[in-house]
Amino acid sequence: MNAPWIALPAALPLFAAAVSVLVGRSRRAQRVIGVVTLTVVSGVAVRIAQESDRHDLLTTQAGGWEAPLGITLRADRFTAIMLLVAAVMFLSVLVYAIGQGDEEQRHVGFHPVYLTLVAGVCLAFLTGDLFNLFVAFEVMLVSSYVLLTLGGRLAQVRAGTTYVVISLLASITFLFTLGLLYRATGTVNMAELPEAMAALDADLRRVLLLLFLGVFGIKAAVFPLFFWLPDSYPNAPTAVTAVFAGLLTKVGVYAMFRIMTTIAPEDTAVGTLLLVIAGLTMVIGVFGAISQQEIKRILSFHAVSQIGYMVFGLGLLTVAGLAAAILYIAQYIVVKTTLFLTGGLVERAAGTGHLHHVDGMLRTRPVVGMLFLLPALSLAGVPPFSGFVGKFALVDAGLASQSWLIVAVSLAVSIMTLLSMNKIWSGAFLGEPTPNAVVEGRLPVAMVGATGALVVISIAMALAAGPVYGYAQRAAESLLAGAPT
């Protein structure tokens, strides 16, 4: 169905970013603009979720040019889920950042760049054109470079350099692959690709597919392309790290899902390769997490490990697998963001995130303790939280496909995840409070409130697991059926 308004989640934040620059002298005006824009975007995302469920697919041609020449924007159920989760999360993190002050308070550029990041992420979800996906990635990445290095401290510059170089390399490879693809098929439109790819030689098709998966694999931080993530993410301001770890890598995963289901939905050899990569990503990530001593770094390694679960669902190449993976991604974005925000609360309350220096937080800040405990148990997959629902669906899909090994690995990694979460729990929250490390004073209401809201959303997703899974299943069915026009 033709629906021009689906461009709003990408267009509105860009417009708001421009206005935000204009009113740069007033931080209050910037805050109002940011919060209002993201609230509206969340509303539009809800509407897209309803409409795409009714019509299967919403499309619009940017600028009125028809498909091969113009840029197609389209939203199906998978897009809608990602958009909705992303919008709500962006809003919560913005409120948190406003409560925290710090970089948000000091730099006039925070709000405009943050809104541009929102536009880039939304455009990446909405685009129906691979070259436009490249552009969306760049909008998102350039904003993330600025957010990561806002402040210009040495640690940020060091982390930023690694991040920019790796991302630029991935972008160049993406561009190169697009050149090959255009030469081979004469189109970069996702709706036309399945047919154009079917006419190609099977080996050439696989080369293109693997190049794309490699590029998106760098963005998604799968094994063995994850090494840049734990070095760069923890050095950003807390709110920014939360957005990066919760969402940016998942945009890479989203692109992997799109390209795999568009180009080669029945290539089981690549599917098996993805399962192997998924297993290694889970194991290496969780080992990395166990060896770390600092809350944000532990969580960053978990971000790597959890990507493995999503790729696991993709590698199965069944409706059940994809549906489980979509459900997993949606709940994971919320849970992971919450954990990083709680990590920020701990740093705020204790002055450091290093486990050796923080003790007895449960005694001094019981609320922060609860805000950490619930998503931590969820991440490890303990019932009845949302992580359990996601992992249960994945394991169920894996058993149905008789992929015993990957199921065993994923269950073992769950236990190790619980182990390393317990490390943070016993290190920072249990024990006697160390009096000199405790910073007095109340935590800002906006910070605690935003974190609490995300915890509530995560629990709500677990309670509404049935309908949410049904939606994810319909999304997976239309993904595997090829893009209907």
Binding site: T149, G152, L154, V157, L169, G179, D231, H357, K423
Partner: protein, 139 residues
């Protein structure tokens, strides 16, 4: 024509890869520029028959002119990589101002974890204040 461009792209990718693997930031920057030029040349090659103009006045037979879409891709890509390279240049300058050193540095947290002899999960946090950086003070 295509062969020459293909060889040019290969040379750009080869030298670019070599430079990116160096530890000096300025060399990495030059390497990244070369790599992105290589990708741009590949994009031009995708237009089937490079050398011809994208639009010719008065003729409407599509075989006489070049496919303009890859050229549009290339323009977009040049602008984007130019911007990102400028940003990286600014980062390299900031790094020079802060450290007076042009090489990429190891992550301090990585170095610390590498130097720790063992990781004691059960007692982590119990020995508050001790970083164990040298390994001699592990329990």
């Amino acid at each position: 024509m295509s062969t020459i461009l293909a060889v040019a792209a290969a040379v750009l990718f080869g030298t670019g890869t070599h430079l990116v693997l160096q530890r000096e930031l300025t060399r990495m920057l030059l390497g990244l520029s070369l790599l992105s030029h290589g990708a741009n040349v590949v994009l031009l090659l995708a237009a089937r028959g490079p050398g011809r103009p994208a639009f010719v006045d008065g003729r409407d037979d599509p075989r006489t002119f070049l496919d303009p879409i890859p050229q549009a891709f290339t323009l977009t890509a040049i602008v984007i990589t130019f911007g990102v390279t400028c940003f990286l240049l600014a980062l390299a300058y900031r790094s020079w101002v802060l450290t007076q050193d042009d090489t990429v540095q190891d992550d301090p947290e990585d170095v610390r974890v590498r130097q720790e002899p063992t990781v004691d999960i059960e007692h982590s946090g119990a020995d508050a204040g001790v970083l164990g950086a040298t390994g001699s003070d592990a329990p």
